[in-house]
């Protein structure tokens, strides 16, 4: 519908076509709302183009090459060579397939697609600047909006992503060749996934991390398994050191300079430097203030449990709305936003958002740790099953790690799980459902689990918490 002479109107305007925005737009259209999705760059956002998907493709490729090259113990002799250009080309094909799929799904559901950068000009209007300079712009009026503008990598002083040898995760996922030596600044999940990938591709990887361990939010025994394995892959860690600057080395490479809190300095010879120290919200150009939307001191848009900003008819979802800054959280929030706008009784009442780290081995977690449960006032009981006692794990050759399940002692309700090991990212799904359903340890244990599978370890961990595991000793 055309309102006035220059303004096009839409019931729902979604800004940003990442996993938050495109999902919100599709669901809004499914609910019969006239929906417009504005994207300035590429469908699928960071996740499909520079995040989740390309990283997992390279993890698969590097993982297969590494595994095949180290399988003499099972009678498989191979000496794989990796063609990085070809691997990245394959990855690009996967990304293209998915991003064009997103575009098609939007259209099939009746979403109006607009290419351009949206800026608020009021509580019910945005201006959309098309493409580059002089490409013109249009004004769009809306009844409801969903801000889903995502996040970008944080840059640190002295390390400019414009330099060829300074990489953000985006460049690390688009390399034409594998650098001989890769310095990684930051041992968070993105740094660790890429450090593992490049180590398997043959690079000498050095990780510098300000804190005293990798993967800050995880428990010590979880971190230890991933760190030990990375060390086996040749990754060198330097903890308690912050990256201060880089300089050119006489050998043609670079020196990565670090400094401890006490002022001790070190340098590491590298060829590329990946800076992965976090992500910050994208609101520049958006002018949220023009609509009356507030951001916190780190730039995130504040929202309530219906994903509404302070301006009730404008929602914000995904990374721009802050933690947990995960693609599936963004999508879940996008669905809630669309349903709230459609007048449905939706809310962010999820009990738990699972998270995975695709290191070697993988980590999958959901809900509460034992410490979380105590803090929340539960009397937690914990059960564990090591993968080295799992028949399925043994037959895959991957026996590192464990499933830990946390429950409420009194009623037996499952509260959380920490899984580190093969397919941890997949195994966590069952526990997420258990938590949402209010399942007890008994329910999980009484569910017949296929033999031989890794998922049996979830059942065994539940039995262990009840003091009656079969395949591991009970405390």
């Amino acid at each position: 519908m055309v309102v006035g002479d220059v303004t096009t109107g839409t019931e729902v305007l979604v800004i940003g076509a990442g996993p938050g925005g495109y999902v919100a737009a599709i669901r809004a259209a499914q609910k019969g709302l006239d929906t417009t999705l504005v994207e300035k760059d590429a469908y699928g956002g960071a996740c499909l183009n520079r995040g989740c998907i390309p990283s997992k493709a390279l993890i698969t490729g590097s993982g297969l090459a590494h595994e095949a090259g180290n399988a003499e113990f099972m009678g498989v002799h191979a000496d794989p060579a990796v063609d990085m250009g070809k691997m990245v080309e394959w990855k690009d094909g996967v990304v293209d397939g998915l991003t064009s799929g997103v575009e098609k799904l939007c259209k099939a559901n009746g979403v109006n697609l607009v290419a351009g950068t949206a800026s608020f000009t009021g509580e019910n209007t945005v201006r959309v600047a098309h493409g580059g300079e002089g490409q013109g712009s249009e004004t769009l009026s809306f009844e409801h909006a969903v801000v889903a503008t995502g996040s970008r990598p944080v840059q640190i002083p002295g390390f400019d992503f414009a330099e060829d040898h300074v990489w953000s995760s985006a460049e690390a996922l688009d390399a034409e060749t594998v650098p001989d030596r890769l310095g990684v600044v930051g041992g968070g999940y993105i740094g660790m996934e890429l450090a593992t990938t490049y180590a398997k591709l043959g690079a000498d990887v050095t990780v510098v991390e300000m804190l005293d361990d990798i993967l800050d939010p995880y428990e010590d025994d979880v971190k230890r398994i991933v760190r030990k394995r990375a060390e086996e892959l040749g990754v060198e860690f330097h903890f308690g050191e912050g990256a201060s600057e880089w300089s050119e080395a006489p050998d043609g490479g670079y020196l990565l300079h670090t400094e401890t809190e006490a002022g001790d300095e070190s340098t590491y010879g590298v060829d590329r430097i990946l800076v992965a120290v976090g992500r910050q919200p994208v609101t520049d150009g958006l002018d949220p203030g023009a609509a009356g939307i507030e951001t916190d001191d780190r730039g995130f848009v504040e929202t309530d449990d219906r994903t509404r900003t302070a301006v009730e008819h404008i929602h914000a979802v995904g990374d721009v709305a802050g933690d947990p800054m995960l693609a599936h959280a963004a999508s879940n929030e996008g669905i809630v936003a669309a349903e709230v706008i459609a007048g449905e009784p939706a809310a962010l009442d999820r009990q738990a958002v699972p998270a995975a780290v695709f290191t070697d081995p993988e980590i999958g977690t959901v809900g509460m740790t034992e410490a979380d449960a105590e803090d929340a006032g539960f009397d937690p009981v914990v059960g564990q099953m090591p993968f080295n006692a799992s028949g399925r794990a043994m037959t895959t050759g991957h026996t590192e790690g464990f499933v830990r399940i946390v429950a409420d002692e009194e009623a037996g309700f499952v509260l959380g799980a920490q899984i580190v090991g093969p397919e941890a990212s997949e195994l966590i799904a069952e526990v997420a459902l258990a938590i949402e359903m209010g399942a007890t340890l008994e329910d999980v244990a009484a569910t017949v689990h296929t033999h031989p599978t890794l998922a049996e370890a979830v059942m065994e961990a539940a039995e262990n918490a009840r003091g009656q595991a079969i395949h591991t000793l009970n405390r």
Binding site: G412, M437, A439, T440, E442, D443, A446, T447
Partner: protein, 70 residues
């Protein structure tokens, strides 16, 4: 008492509720479920038991074996 309103006499109840029903000698199929779609919870089983399990017409005392085809 409500008849099971799902085909095949199937009652939707988690394993813990089914176990509790056997423990209390309640025919889980005769319990009114308070959950979505009539899903039976542990609390429903307890309420049924307290509300006079003797009245449950199912005839099951929770201990009657049913044949299992080999």
């Amino acid at each position: 008492e409500s008849e099971p309103d799902t085909p095949s006499g199937r009652t939707f109840a988690p394993p813990s509720a089914r176990r509790l029903a056997r423990e209390l000698g309640v025919d889980v199929a005769a319990v009114d479920g308070s959950g979505p779609g009539g899903r039976v919870t542990e609390a429903d089983v307890r309420a049924h038991a307290e509300g006079g399990a003797a009245a449950s017409g199912g005839g099951s005392d929770g201990d009657a074996p049913t044949p299992r085809p080999a």
